[in-house]
């Protein structure tokens, strides 16, 4: 008989044919390895909300890699502003684009006013349905939102659907059919994850990151810290374990990976840096110096060193 130590730890990784332990799933990647999976012209779903818990170290890696003609689908924040400023964004599909403390993303404003990017704008709730439809692999979910507003004029590709059921007066209500988003790769940032890609949020709101993870063909998760699976409950209740690894193709340990957006409880938004970033939308010299100082860094670590050295310089 084969000798196996019968412990909980061992028995889930035993191959009876080869009579040896099977390695436990390990999906740890670097930012560069993630970005190598992203091609020109792809549609990228980005988790978070406005300037909150955005996978910025992955966005910076996309900028470094110079991937072109991207479409971004998100409750938009600086990822849309940055990628439009660098000229890598072809199209944005969004519920809004905001930096929260700065209500309108300033680079997005410029991109829109100069016609630099295509835009598909949804009602915020309708956007949720497009994401959920993609996660659930149905072609659409219906909503009343958009009727009467200019959302339909702005997006002539949107269609109505008639309820097959009459209401009490015999009428068949017409609703807006929000089409499932077609996302190639989703990027999300979590507070904690294990090496298999099980994700944990410790802040006030998961936002829609689970749906982004489900909706895409591939999903990559960055996180503040990779912990052992058995330590996932050290900092949050079971309800915070909301993205199972089956929806995650790779996980990147990126401390301060959401900078300059907020990632509570690990850190708040770097408002000063965000203001610095925002100011570059109105001044090409400022943008050029911002770009060369922060975006031409060769890693997330070096980016952080530049951010921190600025504080020290003051």
């Amino acid at each position: 008989m084969a000798t196996i130590e019968i412990t909980l730890e061992v028995i889930y990784s035993w191959d009876h044919r080869k009579e040896k332990r099977v390695s436990v799933v390990n999906k740890i990647l670097t930012e560069e390895e993630v970005v190598a999976q992203i091609e020109d012209g792809m549609t990228i779903g980005v988790g978070g909300w406005g300037s909150r818990r955005k996978p910025m170290s992955l966005i910076m890696a996309i900028i470094r890699a110079g991937i072109q003609d991207l479409t971004v689908v998100s409750y938009g924040g600086p990822e849309i502003g940055l990628l439009s400023a660098t000229g890598q964004l072809k199209k944005a599909i969004y519920g809004f684009v905001s930096l929260d403390s700065i209500p309108l993303e300033p680079h997005f404003r410029v991109a829109r006013q100069t016609g630099k990017i295509e835009a598909t704008e949804f009602d915020e709730g309708a956007f949720y349905l497009g994401l959920m439809a993609a996660a659930h692999r149905v072609p659409f979910y219906p909503t009343r939102a958009g009727l009467g507003s200019d959302m339909l004029e702005m997006n002539p590709e949107l269609k109505l659907v008639e309820s097959p059921y009459p209401d009490k007066s015999g009428k068949h209500e017409k609703l807006v059919a929000i089409p499932a988003f077609d996302i190639d790769v989703s990027l999300v940032h979590m507070n904690r994850a294990d090496q298999g890609g099980n994700g944990q949020f410790l802040g006030p709101d998961l936002f829609f990151d689970d749906l982004f993870a489900m909706a895409a063909k591939k999903t990559y998760m960055s996180c503040e810290k990779i912990v052992a699976t058995e330590n996932l409950l050290d900092e949050g209740s079971v309800h915070t374990l909301r993205i199972p690894r089956i929806f995650v193709n790779g996980v990147v340990e990126a401390p301060r990976g959401a900078h300059f957006t907020e990632c509570p409880p690990d850190y708040g938004r770097d408002e000063e840096f965000q203001k610095l970033y925002a100011a570059t939308a109105k001044d090409s010299d400022l943008w050029e110096s911002f770009r060369s100082r922060y975006l031409e860094t060769d890693s997330h670590q070096e980016y952080l060193r530049m951010v921190d050295s600025r504080k020290e310089e003051k």
């Binding site: 006013q113 704008e121 709730g125 009467g148 507003s149 200019d150 006030p204 936002f207």
Partner: protein, 250 residues
Amino acid sequence: MRRSDICIAEIAECFRGESDILCNPIGISPIIGGRLAKATFAPDVVMTDAVSVLATNTLPIGDQDAPRVIESYAPYRTIFDILWSGRRHVMMGATQIDQYGNQNIAAIGGFQKPKAQLLGLRGAPGNLINHRTSYWVPNHTKRSFVSKVDVVSGPGYDRMGEIGEPGNRYHDLHRVVSNLGVFDFDTPDRRMRLRSIHPGVEVAEVVENTDFEIVIPDNLELSRVPSEAELEIIKIIDPTELRYSEVQDA
């Protein structure tokens, strides 16, 4: 009495009679007014802490560290659930609003290539078609009270009339509060009506600053002045006087 405090009392009045709904004002004066309503005559509404919980107690605006008595969890997903359920009354801003209450916060100069990109549609299309909505306009001019909005974010009564039954059955554009007065749509043809005028404002001032014909009732009332007790509460909600930066005195 400063104009801002009158505005805030009238914003609060928008929520009088509400209970068991999410009172969800957006923006400085609306949040102060909504919290005033909850702190006084509308204690049964629920309100968020502007982050992710419903808080029973009255929170000072913008104070992230104020102790919260948490009633329930309200991440954005729950907010959309509540929105679609209809148990919500939102007060939004309006960069432009027309006589039927069509609101624009999306763009100036059309959507395709705007002269000025504004906030966007945000939740306005869904809000308006699902539950009661009020608006707040801190600078009442012909550029905000316009004959035609450039983009319709939140549809007004004419647009929703075209949609008709059953699509329009939850549409309920309640009031508009500006720095000059309070407006509603309680007219036969659902055009905007001056409901009350703020003390110190002349009707002519309203008319001159409005780019459409506004309905003026025969016996026009004055907007309500907050009581001293209310002013005390307003100071608790807005200790750093953010409200005065939003509304000019006469």
